[in-house]
């Protein structure tokens, strides 16, 4: 395959940045998108051009590092995959592909396609945990049976990989899908109910302080989420938030 790539290049957070075009040949449809980027970078390096910086690590769709906005979609045209699992067979010979970073005010660009998502970490510092000591003197794991349905729903929320596709996709740069997944994961389980009120209040407060926008129920986040995190989580968080606000 022969492709034209239009890639966002930005030296550092102070640089203005611009789109630069590159031509690339001999791309196999069996390559992953990031392997195609590897080929490009080998070629750029050989020509003495600074390679394109991008975040990536596990390359199997679970670490949440990779974060490319491809042809106007977070993680590209395929559904339920991260960029690293996107394969070139989803493109055609001669295609032009636009590649940009995950853009949001709360995700400042570090270099090229690499963004700073530490705002996600700070939201979780504000309450993304159950206050239990790691001493091992906890009760037996089977002491509290948990209804399978709740356990499965908590698991579904917990599969969020924190990549930020939801934020990058949202026209308001809202982080509601991410935060609601984190809140739901705990509030659906009996262990997490004890401090559920404080958790949702604190995490939402931090989300606002980080500058993420509001949710206007567009639902684009759910469509682009590589892990299929459901909008139901947002509805649940809104209910939890309201309940907590009234009772506090």
């Amino acid at each position: 395959m022969k492709l034209k790539l239009k890639i966002w290049r930005q030296k550092n957070s102070n640089d203005k940045g611009k789109i630069v075009s590159y031509d690339i040949e001999n791309i196999s449809p069996d390559m992953s998108f990031l392997e195609m980027m590897d080929v490009l970078n080998e070629q750029l390096t050989a020509k003495g051009i600074d390679p394109v910086a991008f975040d990536h690590d596990c390359r199997e769709g679970i670490c949440g590092s990779c974060s490319m906005f491809i042809n106007g979609e977070a993680h590209g045209p395929d559904r339920f995959v991260t960029t690293c699992q996107l394969h070139m067979r989803k493109f055609k010979d001669g295609d032009t592909i636009h590649i940009e970073p995950f853009r949001a005010n709360s995700f400042p660009v570090i270099k090229d396609l690499v963004v700073d998502r530490s705002s996600f970490d700070r939201i979780q510092h504000a309450g993304g945990y159950i206050s239990v000591n790691t001493s091992g003197n906890t009760q037996d794991a089977n002491a509290i049976p948990i209804e399978k349905n709740s356990a499965d729903k908590a698991f579904d929320a917990a599969t969020c990989i924190g990549c930020g596709a939801c934020v990058a996709t949202c026209k308001n740069s809202s982080a509601m899908l991410f935060v609601s997944a984190k809140v739901s994961q705990f509030s659906l389980l009996p262990q997490g109910k004890v401090e559920a009120n404080d958790r949702v209040l604190n995490m939402v407060k931090q989300m606002d302080e980080e500058g993420f926008g509001n949710c206007t129920n567009t639902g684009a986040c759910e469509v682009e989420c590589p892990k299929g995190i459901s909008l139901e989580n947002i509805a649940r968080m809104n209910r939890d938030f309201l309940k907590a606000k009234i009772s506090s």
């Binding site: 069996d30 910086a53 906890t138 698991f155």
Partner: protein, 667 residues
């Protein structure tokens, strides 16, 4: 050569850990506030250790090269975590888990450590559930289990195919709580560049900020290395792209012995290599072997027909298939340990029965499991058990609920539907049992420097059983190190904070800066990946699934030459004071180029076969691994003397008082 002593406590094995905990020295809560601990790596071992140390009151500084501790590669572990809970009532016990792990490791692990691991395993599950880890449950609301290779009970707890992710998020949430309290200072996108020793003790590290290239000094009273394994030595592995040996290697060069470097796990069920562009390999969880049956055609002509696309695997009748694991190992069948399954796949493919274009793949087939589950479901719902298409649909639903994400991952990568046609799999490098040598307290041969999780060597011997890595990482981090480190730190309560303005820090920092200057200014003609790929090829071809004297000797020479070529011809683009991934990679590959040689040297020295280490010179008539207990019942602990070729071998004798050394049989 000398003998290394592991400081294993006296007494019967079931009392050792309890007695040790009762007798080791403690640091009072007031004094813990005066003590700093550095933790490098935030996977299951590092994350859980950082959280627990901070909770106990120590001031923790944690470092990871990823942009968040939650992205450490433990996150990619799929199948599950073992614990001797005996919830299934199938006769499991601490002793059985201990026995299975020692046997699975082919009698090359340390009894006392493995027993302790089995002992604390049950606590891990309690702990994780309390933290909100959503393990799989049955309809009664209780925890579910499945079975893994090399054992005859169901003791594996799981969260679909994302167990590592859920456990790591648990450890990360425990870290978040301590970060919020100010007890953990978290340094993301930081790479450890060297260890700093003062008066022979580990007192700090030099790091590089991966965003702006700044070289920084960090001091502490103890340093914990939890940076994982070195599978990326092979270039292609199931490790993350950033996984590296550098932290372990730096401490090795400063005096920590490196143990059994050649003990590598080649995992039997990975997606086969598709071409030269390949950057990494993807694992298909061992849990799939609960329900998947592994086969190749009985006749070579059928294999060739499948390869060339003339025959579909589903059209080949049962009597023409060779379910070779079930044939060779009737007792364990498809659930033999990983080393055995991998070698059996290689044997079939080397004999010409491989089924994909490259001839290096075998089938993992779910067709019979789909029918079995489908009939069960149909019976349960009172539907027609003889309606094949209905049964298949019901069976697929069950398989989807168990392995849905794995099947989806396979389909995305290979572009085939594994519900309809069998998966193609082949062995790939997955885990390294070898690592930094540690004593019973998990301390390396450098006082004050500890190693935990995959970075150390002690628990898995020559072959790790499935679902034991997560268990060991969390055992070390939550329940072992936080106790044992106190014994060492009890001497440091009056030391006061360690200054970074001393010659030891300055020397280490200068050495790091010089190395980076050297790499950046070399302006050669070959990229980092060129060297990494070449090194990987040497190791895979000559020190891979089977090894012999001639090729190991060749490998050593080739790696030496490649290392020379590296320093002559390496080209690193960009500058040192910016985000520069090729530079970070060049540093990592330079360490792999040294480790690779020691790896081959260790494999050469150990002329027996054991676990994942298969020496062609040492095998039975049936081609099974032949151990040599008379000459090799020891841990090889290598001391650095400059070049890897000069490394000196020390031995830790392995003494089996509770388990009889036997030939491992899964037949």
């Amino acid at each position: 050569m000398s003998k290394v002593k592991a400081k294993i406590p006296e007494g019967p094995i079931s009392k050792k850990w309890t007695n040790h905990k009762n007798n080791i020295r403690l640091v009072s809560p007031a004094n813990k506030r005066l003590i700093d601990v550095i933790v490098v790596g935030t996977g299951l071992a590092g994350g859980s250790a950082a959280a627990t140390l901070a909770e106990l009151g120590y001031n923790v500084k944690a470092f990871c090269f990823q942009d968040s501790p939650r992205r450490a590669h433990s996150i990619a572990a799929q199948g599950g975590i073992n614990a001797a809970k005996n919830y299934q009532g199938d006769g499991d016990s601490i002793h059985r888990l201990f026995y299975d792990t020692v046997k699975g490791g082919d009698y090359r692990s340390r009894e006392a450590n493995v027993y302790r691991l089995a002992e604390v395993s049950a606590n891990i599950i309690d702990q994780c559930v309390a933290q909100g880890v959503p393990f799989a449950r049955d309809y009664g609301g209780l925890l579910d289990n499945r079975s893994f290779g090399g054992v005859l009970v169901s003791r594996t707890f799981y969260a679909k195919g994302q167990t590592g992710q859920q456990l790591l998020l648990g450890a990360y949430s425990a870290m978040n709580r301590q970060i919020a309290r100010g007890k953990i200072q978290m340094f993301n996108r930081h790479e450890m560049m060297d260890l700093v020793k003062i008066d022979g003790k580990a007192r700090g590290i030099i790091t590089r900020n991966l965003i702006n290239g700044k070289i920084e000094r960090h001091s502490a009273h103890a340093v914990v290395i939890a940076s994982g394994g070195y599978g990326n030595l092979f270039y292609l592995s199931t490790n993350a792209m950033g996984s590296n040996v550098s932290a372990s290697w730096k401490i090795h060069k400063k005096g920590a012995y490196f143990a059994n470097p050649c003990f590598t796990q080649i995992h039997p069920t990975c997606i086969p290599v598709s071409g030269d562009h390949q950057s990494k390999l993807t694992l298909m969880s061992e849990s799939l072997r609960n329900d998947g049956r592994i086969w190749v055609p009985k006749s070579k002509s059928d294999s060739i027909a499948i390869r060339e696309g003339r025959l579909k695997p589903v059209d080949l009748s049962e009597d023409k298939r060779d379910y070779y694991l079930e044939r060779r190992y009737p007792a364990f069948g498809n659930l033999v340990p990983r080393d055995v399954a991998s070698r059996a796949a290689k044997e079939r493919c080397d004999s010409g029965f491989g089924i994909n274009k490259t001839g290096e793949a075998v089938f993992l087939d779910f067709a019979s499991a789909i029918i079995r589950y489908g009939k069960e479901k149909a019976h349960l719902k009172g539907l027609d058990e003889d309606n094949l298409s209905l049964v298949k649909d019901l069976g697929k639903e069950v398989i989807k609920s168990k392995y849905g994400n794995l099947f989806q991952m396979y389909e995305k990568i290979v572009d085939q539907n594994p519900y309809e046609t069998p998966m193609m799999i082949y062995p790939a490098v997955h885990y390294t049992m070898g690592g930094v040598w540690v004593d019973y307290n998990l301390m390396t041969t450098i006082p004050g420097c500890f190693a935990i999780g995959e970075a150390n060597f002690s628990d898995h011997g020559a072959n790790r059983l499935g679902a034991s890595a997560l268990m060991q990482g969390l055992a070390d981090g939550y329940f072992v190190l936080p106790y044992t480190i106190g014994d060492y730190l009890a001497d440091d309560i009056r030391t006061g904070s360690i200054s970074i303005d001393c010659k030891e820090f300055e020397e280490a920092e200068n050495a790091v800066k010089n190395k980076i200057d050297l790499l950046i200014n070399n302006k050669g003609i070959k990229s980092v990946d060129y060297f990494h790929k070449k090194l990987g090829k040497i190791i895979w071809n000559k020190c891979g699934m089977s090894r012999n004297e001639k090729e190991l000797k060749e490998a050593i020479e080739e790696i030496q030459l490649l290392r020379k070529d590296f320093y002559k011809n390496i080209s690193v683009p960009g500058s040192e004071d910016s985000f520069n991934e090729p530079l970070a990679k060049a540093v990592r590959v330079s360490d792999f180029l040294e480790l690779g040689e020691l790896f081959a040297k260790d494999a050469l020295e150990r002329s027996e076969s054991c676990g994942g280490h298969f020496r062609e010179e040492s095998q039975t008539k049936e081609g099974e691994a032949l151990r040599d207990d008379t000459n090799f019942t020891f841990v090889s602990a290598w001391e650095n003397k400059g070049e890897p070729s000069e490394a000196v071998l020390h031995k830790e004798d392995l003494i089996y008082e509770n388990i009889e050394l036997k030939t491992r049989s899964y037949k």
